[in-house]
């Protein structure tokens, strides 16, 4: 058993998820280009999904299918929590929708203003 | 718009614009009778003679002779003489020597604003016949053509002593009931007015300054 394998996989996923969130957020906050900001958002979204999945994961657990292999009484300890997985699915769909809308905005902004620089979209303020 | 005809009661006031006619009275002055009781009239004349309020309006060089009257040397207060700054309250008008046409206009105004009985004393030679200004283009020669005069104190100029004497003479005349200048003015109003208008060419005031 080396050090690496001691770390549970869920933790790795969790950490990389959190890392992705930070990267995504960094992208959204620093990149001037709207497309890049959208990419940042996607990264962040993905990171959240990874965090969600990692939360539900039970190390060494099986798929949450209740059958002979996993008796109901033992299920809680043996199977991976199915709820986060289900949630992730929904979250992905929603994330996709948001990304799509953002991209649509990007297209329209470019059409309307001929630029994708967010710094130039500051006419309404104070 | 008032009736602007020159009638027995009203004056024409033709020197005024139509707007100004609204602002000045156009009544014709009226003469007053003496009190019906002789004693009252005498008493009133006594009071008038002993309370001579002089209009503080120095119309010519003689004005300078009026100042000493109030000083310790002459003390006209003794005779009931006092200066009064407004014609409404004055009874004596002392014409201080020569009167230019311009001043005459003011003299007429002030005289008409005095309330009767009112008395006029002329100082110096100029009001009598023009004096040294007899040939001036701007100084009248015969004052009594324009305002009835009660007393002349001649000289150029008469000294304050003469003035005191003339005041005493005026008192005597008033007590005798002989000072009716105000009534003479009113009775011969049209004549006086014609004379006045003959010399005062820009007559921009009502015919009688109430």
């Amino acid at each position: 058993m080396n050090m690496l394998t001691d770390i549970p996989i869920s933790l790795i996923v969790l950490c990389s998820g959190l890392g992705l969130i930070l990267i995504g957020m960094w992208g959204m906050l620093t990149q001037r280009n709207i497309i890049r900001m959208i990419i940042g958002f996607s990264l962040m979204d993905t990171g959240i999904h990874m965090v969600m999945v990692s939360i539900g994961y039970v190390t060494g657990g099986t798929a949450p299918i209740i059958n002979d292999a996993v008796p109901i009484a033992d299920a809680v300890n043996r199977v991976v929590d199915p709820v986060p997985s289900a949630l992730v699915l929904t979250a992905i769909v929603i994330g996709l929708g948001v990304t799509a809308v953002m991209l649509a905005f990007a297209v329209r902004i470019f059409k309307a203003r001929n630029t994708l620089n967010i710094d130039e979209c500051t006419e309404s303020k104070w | 718009m008032k009736n602007s005809l020159n009638t027995d009661d009203t004056l024409e006031n033709s020197g005024l614009t139509e707007e100004e006619q609204l602002l000045f009275s156009n009544a014709r002055p009226r003469a007053y009778e003496p009190y019906p009781i002789k004693a009252v009239e005498d008493f009133a004349n006594w009071a008038r003679a002993n309370s001579l309020w002089i209009l503080a309006f120095g119309t010519g060089c003689g004005a300078i002779e009026l100042r000493p009257l109030m000083t310790a040397r002459f003390d006209a207060n003794r005779f009931g003489v006092a200066g009064r700054p407004t014609p409404r309250q004055s009874s004596v008008f002392i014409i201080g020597g020569y009167a230019s046409v311009k001043t005459l206009k003011r003299i007429i105004r002030s005289y008409e604003q005095m309330q009767g009985p009112k008395f006029v004393i002329c100082l110096g030679i100029c009001p009598i016949n023009g004096g040294m200004y007899f040939d001036s283009y701007n100084t009248i020669n015969q004052f009594d053509q324009y305002i009835p005069v009660d007393l002349y104190a001649t000289g150029c100029m008469p000294r304050p002593e003469a003035l005191v004497a003339s005041i005493m003479a005026l008192q005597k005349k008033i007590k005798a009931g002989e000072c009716d200048g105000a009534n003479r003015y009113v009775e011969n109003f049209d004549w006086y007015k014609a004379n006045q208008k003959k010399v005062i060419k820009n007559w921009d005031m009502p015919d009688y300054n109430w």
Binding site: - | G130, S136, N138, N141, V199
Partner: protein, 180 residues
């Protein structure tokens, strides 16, 4: 002073320069250049004060002589600028633009002599005489005695004496006015 006069002679052609007193010099200048000259004196030469302006009627020569009296406070010198204008064409350039108070003098000159100063403020208003309806009284063709008698009348009984003779009689009646 002489420098100034020389310069004025050269530039403006002034003549008739007379030193009346040590501090008073008069000279004559043409009507057309008078205003420029006075302006020059005021702005360049320090004659900043207008003492007065007046007029003399030379009816014999058919001219009015206008006199502008200027004063220099620094040098304590006065200059009298004489300008001749024709009696028939009695127009003169107004100097109220140089000294605002000049309009008063000009109003007076207008009233008394009938001299016109185009542009001078309130020129037509009465100054001293109110409602004057004759020729201006200071013009010498105006007969003031006749006017006075006609307008203000004449009271009989007035007679004139030579003061010297009169006083002799008054003072020495016994000697028939003889001083001795």
């Amino acid at each position: 002073m002489n420098d100034l006069m020389e310069r004025l002679q050269r530039d403006f052609g002034v003549d008739d320069i007379t030193v009346r007193k040590p501090a008073l010099t008069t000279f004559r200048v043409k009507k057309d250049s008078a205003e420029t000259l006075i302006r020059e004196l005021r702005d360049r030469e320090g004659y900043t004060h207008l003492n007065f302006m007046t007029c003399i009627d030379y009816i014999e020569d058919g001219i009015f002589t206008l006199v502008y009296m200027l004063h220099n406070y620094d040098k304590k010198l006065s200059l009298g600028v004489h300008v001749d204008i024709s009696r028939e064409n009695e127009d003169m350039v107004s100097i109220h633009t140089l000294w605002a108070q000049a309009w008063t003098y000009q109003r007076e000159l207008r009233e008394m002599y009938g001299i016109n100063f185009p542009g001078s403020p309130r020129l037509e208003e009465d100054f001293c005489l109110e409602g004057w309806d004759d020729i201006p009284p200071m013009r010498r063709e105006f007969d003031t005695k006749e006017f006075s008698e006609q307008r203000f009348g004449h009271r009989e009984g007035r007679h004139s004496e030579e003061p010297r003779d009169h006083m002799k009689v008054e003072l020495y009646p016994n000697r028939g006015g003889d001083e001795k």
